[in-house]
């Protein structure tokens, strides 16, 4: 029995070596499956666009009602050359980013600090639920009255769309910490603030980032709804104006820019997540 036990470390190091050797092969396999997913996505997209183009090419009325990929592309390149695409994207992007940032900061700080006091969190809970159930669109007219028709009102709309979600996800993260882990910190003599800073905050990062990814879309919706109500620039403004003039392909062109904006922001959040939580990358290795 003793001999078996002594032999164990040698066996583990051998299996580790063989895993290293399998490394490049596995990486290639994973790359290949990613490639397959990407290729399939492109095929689906191309088929959809081809069908759209073909169906609207035969029929003038359909082309007017639904636009067509080629017309959308034409508007996109026109908007790019006259600069309105960049200007509108910049304006909406700035509003979204500011709202996203402010909303998540406020929401996360409140959500995490509610961990500190069971009493305060119980007092606050019904108010949070009440605020969370308000459709943000309903607030738009008031926001315009309070903050005017410029940048600030859109940032406010965007912030409001984000803040409750950020609060709830970060609070959920903070209260989801394993009680045994808290006990461990207590037996090591940690103060409540040390438990908060060294355990609760980092343990909540996973939930906070889930919230961040979710709120990219909410921030963008907030900004665009704000622009719908009253604005002179931005993608929401472009969509609204083209829509009221029945220039359907231009509506779609502005939508494409909106989607691109959302994708870029989501991608950026994912990158920041990887930077801030390097231990999660090691998991995939």
């Amino acid at each position: 029995m003793t001999a078996e036990i002594r032999a164990a470390p040698a066996a583990t190091s051998a299996s580790k070596r063989s895993a290293d050797r399998a490394g490049p092969g596995r990486r290639w396999l994973r790359f290949r499956s990613t490639l397959a997913v990407l290729a399939t996505q492109l095929v689906v997209l191309a088929a959809f666009l081809a069908f759209w183009e073909h169906a609207t090419g035969q029929n003038k009325a359909a082309a007017f009602m639904f636009g067509s990929p080629s017309a959308i592309f034409k508007f996109l390149s026109q908007m790019a050359t006259d600069g309105s695409l960049w200007r509108d994207s910049y304006v909406t992007g700035l509003e979204t980013l500011l709202g996203f940032f402010v909303g998540n900061c406020i929401g996360t700080v409140i959500g995490l600090s509610l961990w500190y006091s069971r009493f305060v969190s119980r007092v606050v809970e019904p108010f949070v639920i009440a605020l969370g159930s308000i459709p943000i669109i309903a607030l738009a007219p008031i926001i315009i009255i309070w903050f005017g028709t410029g940048l600030i009102s859109k940032v406010a709309m965007s912030t409001l769309s984000v803040v409750i979600v950020a609060l709830v996800t970060s609070y959920k993260g903070a209260t989801g910490v394993d009680p045994d882990q808290i006990n461990l910190f207590r037996t090591l003599g940690a103060s409540k603030f040390q438990i908060f800073r060294k355990l609760v905050v980092p343990a909540s990062l996973t939930d906070i980032f889930a919230g961040l990814k979710l709120t990219v879309g909410f921030a963008l919706i907030g900004a665009i709804v704000g622009e719908f109500m009253s604005s002179s620039e931005g993608l929401g403004h472009a969509i609204f104006k083209a829509g009221s003039l029945y220039i359907i392909p231009k509506v779609f062109a502005a939508l494409v820019a909106t989607i691109a904006l959302a994708l870029i922001l989501t991608f950026a959040v994912g990158k920041i997540e990887q930077l801030l939580m390097p231990w999660r990358q090691q998991l995939q290795r």
């Binding site: 029995m1 003793t2 078996e4 036990i5 164990a8 583990t12 394993d178 045994d180 882990q181 006990n183 461990l184 910190f185 207590r186 037996t187 090591l188 003599g189 940690a190 040390q194 060294k198 355990l199 980092p202 343990a203 990062l205 939580m277 231990w279 999660r280 090691q282 998991l283 290795r285």
Partner: protein, 269 residues
């Protein structure tokens, strides 16, 4: 309490842990009361290893949390080095079946937790932690994140995190239960070696009778809830008790295991 004043302490230092007639019950939401610990007394002396075994659900974890000051007993006294302590006792290490490693910290970072909380300078803490990890066979793994370590290695990191604070007393709650047999024997051996070498005291709560007998100087068998002490065995298996692997082959070993098993079996019926 009077005889545990400074004069008496100088004459004969009080044992690290004395538990006198501790009782603990839980209130149910419905209003009922479930007595968990009935009446329990025990003494843990300096340099002694005591195992506690008992049937499932007999309140072993409640006992441990009460000793740590995470729960307050309904009755009785707990004295650490002769004193009753409010809150968490000092110099007590605590380790559970779950390794409770923080995934965002490397093995080294996890080991440094206790020293960091106590404000030990980082460079000094790092040296001590690296040395402790080396001693536990984790040389070269200090900068690995827990997700890349095996279960046995993770539990070794947890052990390093506990031992690096140089506790007088270790309270372990089934720390090796989730490990495979080989890892378990090896880590048990290292634990006992380090505990005996440092003249520390160890209270080990376990399901595993063989583990209890092979590690401990004394095994306490608990009854079903409300928990009381059912039997106490002084384990006489030679004078050098550092090798927990060869002790399993000693002639008296299986007798102890059999009698303790019989004690538990009666309780289970």
């Amino acid at each position: 309490m009077m005889q545990s004043g400074p004069g008496a302490a100088a004459a004969a230092p009080a044992p690290p842990l004395v538990v006198e007639h501790v009782a603990k019950s839980y209130e149910l939401d419905g209003g009922g009361i479930v007595p968990v610990i009935g009446d329990l007394s025990l003494i843990l002396r300096e340099g002694e290893i005591v195992s506690i075994v008992g049937p499932s659900g007999c309140g072993k974890t409640t006992l441990l949390n009460t000793l740590c000051g995470l729960l307050t007993p309904d009755a009785g006294r707990i004295r650490w080095h002769g004193r009753e302590v409010a809150g968490q006792p000092q110099n007590v290490g605590y380790m559970l079946q779950k390794d409770l490693l923080l995934p965002w910290r490397t093995a080294l970072g996890n080991t440094m937790l206790g020293l960091e909380i106590r404000g030990v300078p980082a460079a000094q803490a790092e040296d001590r932690c690296r040395a402790m990890l080396d001693q536990l066979g984790l040389h070269g793994f200090a900068d690995h994140y827990p997700t890349t370590l095996s279960g046995g290695m993770r539990q070794r990191v947890a052990l390093a995190r506990t031992l690096v604070n140089e506790p007088d007393v270790l309270l372990l709650d089934e720390p090796f239960a989730a490990l495979d047999f080989q890892s378990k024997l090896l880590i048990e051996n290292d634990t006992v070696g380090l505990v005996r070498q440092g003249r520390r005291s160890l209270l080990l709560i376990t399901h595993d009778i063989e583990e209890a007998v092979s590690l401990a100087d004394r095994v306490i068998v608990l009854s079903q809830r409300p928990t009381q002490i059912k039997a106490v065995y002084d384990i006489a298996l030679g004078s050098d008790r550092r090798d927990v692997i060869s002790v399993r082959q000693m002639p008296g070993f299986s007798d102890y295991v059999r009698s303790i098993w019989a004690d538990l079996d009666v309780v289970l019926q």
